[in-house]
């Protein structure tokens, strides 16, 4: 009897969590898409705000961290960019596009190792 109840609780929890996860991902996707839109118009600060929000909504969404890293890079916040790239690669280590972005970033960052972080 107990095992049946336990199984039902687990099942209900799993079924109800799935839409929650799906919601978080779709909300994060909407924020990422909006961020891309505004970044293409040159509104990088707004884009960063959206991508930060996306990463907050779904901390397992590698694209949000990748885009955030690019935004930080564009703003000269190189330490933050590195952290975001590393997080993106931690989530999706085989993503060739994130890896390529990170390599290009490192090239600049290594070249200017002594440059100070922009506040």
């Amino acid at each position: 009897m107990f095992s049946r109840v336990a199984a039902s609780v687990v099942l209900i929890a799993a079924v109800s969590a799935a839409p929650l996860y799906a919601d978080a991902r779709s909300d994060a996707k909407a924020q990422v898409a909006f961020g891309i839109d505004v970044a293409q118009k040159g509104l990088w600060r707004e884009a960063i705000y959206r991508w930060e929000k996306a990463a907050e909504l779904d901390p397992t969404y590698a694209a949000a961290y990748n885009d955030l890293a690019i935004g930080y890079e564009h703003e000269g916040q190189l330490d933050k960019a590195r952290q975001a790239y590393e997080k993106a690669l931690e989530i999706d280590p085989n993503n060739a596009q994130i890896r390529q972005n990170f390599e290009l970033f490192k090239e600049i960052n290594d070249r200017t190792a002594s440059a100070k972080e922009r506040p």
Binding site: I36, A39, A63, N66, I70, Q100, R111, T112, S114, A115
Partner: protein
Amino acid sequence: MTGLLPPKNVRRLLLAGVASVCAAATLACGPSYFEIPIETPIQPKLDVSAFQRVLIAGFVAGGSEDVDANQETVRLLRSQLRSKSSLRVIDADVMQLQEIAQEQSKGAPETGEEPPASKESSGATPTQVSSVTPSPEHATQPLPAKIKEEKDLEPYERLFANTSYWKRIGEEYQNPLIVTGTVLFMPNSRSGFVSRDVEQIDGYGRRRVVPVRQYLERKGFILRPKFVFIDGRSGATIYSESYREEVLYNSQTNTPALSSYFELMDRLVPNFLSALSSQKIRGTRVLLK
């Protein structure tokens, strides 16, 4: 008159349906990545906010006699700073530092008064730098009248450590940031095997590119500048960085020394400028959905 479609037509209809659903889905979702151009701002290596003016004083120069490396370096850096820096460039006669160092060593030596707190560059491009503070042996070494190689420049290091001299220069020009250093521009030749791609046409008239190893005698130049940044208020060195660039041409090519000098300086100037002013590095990244 309606009837059942033959099974072949049903399959075709199904396939067409699936294809149109896929096409619609692709159109609705759009691409999943976007290339975007970015400009990464890089902060200057030096905080020059305390200075409004910069004096490119002069350089201890040597090597090839075909190029006056002191004169040319001063001229080039002044013109670059005029257009790419917010600092006002002081127009002054180019200092003949080699002669000044000779005179200083003849008279009462002022070397090693206050060892300057120099901050050395650790960038990827700069080569390993030696300290601006002269070693005891360099402080007493005679200054060679002709500078032909790197070791001839070493005794001149004591000129940059002479804080009272640079402080006096600073006072004369109302405490600017002073840029000085050494420049060695010397001929270089090297021979050996070089691999290069050669286009060949085979028996069927097809073109193909084949790597070919060839023994070549090449000649060119090496440029080794060291930029020393001095605080005109105190005469102390605040930063220094050294670079090394070389170019080699086919021995039959007759390239004038001056054009090689500019070719090599062209590679270094962005690094020099990045010490004083912020730079923007252009690139492309991929945004993901």
